[in-house]
């Protein structure tokens, strides 16, 4: 391996600068589906981070033995096995949240973020750097999910983690829950606003504009 492995940048780069959700727009299907409340968002984040880290470690350790032609099949088998384990654990210990997450834990198998990291990084690096990179990406995904999940639960129900923060009108308070936040489109709005906020703070993440506006001309005298 040519470049030296640096622990801290590999772990922290995917948090904001290379965030898989807000910069690379990877894995947003599940990110948008499970963020109606913070509890489901956290469980999903933890599940994905565990699957991602373990699969990266496993794939990196057998990277020299995987035939190139069937590497995707091998990777998916490893990821799917881990996902099934996680899914069973959730069903056993967190039955209610598992029901709320429905198919989305199972769909971690096909999450482009997991396959993207194993394919792009774990396949070419030793187990430790691969796992650090995977863990960092899992944390980046978790960060985006937690921000979106907190805002959606707060604005949609006036609660965070099921605890009442903004007193709703129905129980004598002032806050009117915004039902829209619990509907799927709201996840897109929140993700869009989050991406906008991050790219305003870090203009280097913004994409080049497709079109350049024509120069305004002075009106003829």
């Amino acid at each position: 391996m040519a470049e030296t492995f640096r622990f801290w940048p590999t772990l922290t780069e995917p948090l904001v600068r290379q965030n898989p959700v807000t910069l690379q727009i990877l894995g947003i299907c599940s990110a948008l589906a499970v963020t109606t409340s913070l509890a489901t968002a956290l469980t999903m984040s933890a599940s994905l981070t565990v699957v991602l880290t373990l699969s990266a470690g496993l794939i990196a350790s057998i990277r020299r033995h995987i035939p190139d032609t069937i590497r995707l099949i091998v990777q998916i088998v490893i990821i799917a096995s881990l996902v099934i384990v996680i899914d069973q654990l959730l069903q056993a210990y967190l039955a209610e949240i598992s029901r709320a997450l429905s198919v989305f834990v199972g769909l971690i198998t096909t999450n482009c973020l997991v396959l993207g990291r194993t394919e792009a990084y774990a396949r070419h690096h030793p187990p430790l750097p691969a796992m650090v990179d995977a863990f960092g990406n899992g944390l980046g995904y978790s960060l985006a999910l937690i921000v979106i999940g907190t805002l959606r639960e707060l604005l949609g129900k006036g609660e965070v983690f099921g605890y009442e923060v903004l007193a709703p009108v129905s129980s004598g308070g002032w806050f009117t829950p915004l039902n829209l936040m619990l509907l799927p489109p709201a996840a897109f709005f929140m993700l869009g606003l989050l991406v906008w906020a991050i790219r305003s703070a870090r203009p280097e993440q913004a994409e080049a504009p497709d079109h350049v506006a024509p120069m305004p001309r002075e009106p003829a005298e």
Binding site: T176, L178, L180, F189, G192
Partner: protein, 260 residues
């Protein structure tokens, strides 16, 4: 668009003048807090235009008064100031200013605001529009079409479909009133509607058609709610109609003149 006297602000001013009959009729008839609602909507929309002027050097547009008027007339009743600020801010910023200001948006900011308020606070009742307001829509549309700031094809298409529906007896009067007011305030926006002749007719027909479909099958919805939903979908489909009209024109030209 910029030709001689005509620039974006001229269009906004003339649109404002065209909508004056409706604004006056509404203020005259709605003795309650109509003026307060209008001032509130003007203030919130105006503040966002100023924010974007300072933050992005984006020229503010008088069109903010158009969206404020539409929101004030059509917004659900009984919403508190926080909810109205949230809805108007969402519509103005996400529907218009984030795209670069009036003229670059895809849907009218007032349409976005009203859809947001409707979905976000489904319990709030939609306003009942009085018949004189719908009558005032006729001179408004006439001024708009004559001065060329409102797309005539959109209005003609919608009126044609509406006339057929009324003749067939499937359009009750409240629906026609709400449809006419929303047609002039939201659908006939020169930015958010289609820009080709064929596209405009299709756009108007789609709006009226959607409204009729909603009236048949959407139980429990107020006429204004149906009209706003139809306006949102019709303006989202407008670019598609333009694309289709241009593709049709190119194909016809090719058969006539030959070519690759």
């Amino acid at each position: 668009m910029i030709r001689g006297l005509w620039d974006r602000e001229t269009v906004a001013l003339i649109l404002l003048a065209a909508l004056l009959p409706m604004a006056l009729a509404w203020l005259w008839l709605d003795a309650g807090d109509a003026a307060g609602r209008l001032l509130f909507a003007l203030a919130v929309t105006g503040v966002w235009h100023l924010v974007f002027m300072f933050a992005r050097a984006q020229p503010p547009s008088l069109s903010f008064a158009l969206s404020a008027l539409a929101v004030a007339i059509l917004a659900p009743e009984g919403l508190g100031p926080v909810q109205m600020i949230l809805g108007i801010s969402f519509g103005t910023v996400m529907g218009e200013l984030a795209f670069g200001g009036w003229g670059r948006n895809v849907v009218a900011p007032a349409t976005v605001t009203l859809a947001f308020l409707g979905f976000g606070f489904p319990a709030a009742p939609w306003p009942d529009l009085v018949p004189p307001l719908a009558w005032a829509a006729i001179p408004a549309a006439a001024i708009g079409i004559v001065t060329g700031v409102m797309p005539g094809g959109v209005i003609a298409g919608a009126v044609l479909a509406g006339a057929v529906a009324v003749a067939a007896g499937i359009a009750p009067a409240p629906l026609v009133h709400a449809g006419a007011v929303v047609l002039v305030l939201l659908v006939a926006d020169p930015v958010a509607s289609a820009a080709t002749t064929l596209g405009r007719w299709l756009n108007g027909l789609l709006y009226a058609g959607l409204l009729l479909i909603f009236a048949q099958g959407w139980t429990g919805a107020a006429p204004v709610q149906m009209a706003v939903a139809a306006a949102l979908l019709a303006s989202l489909a407008a670019p598609l109609f333009d694309e289709a009209a241009i593709a049709f024109w190119i194909a016809r030209r090719r058969t006539r003149h030959g070519g690759p």
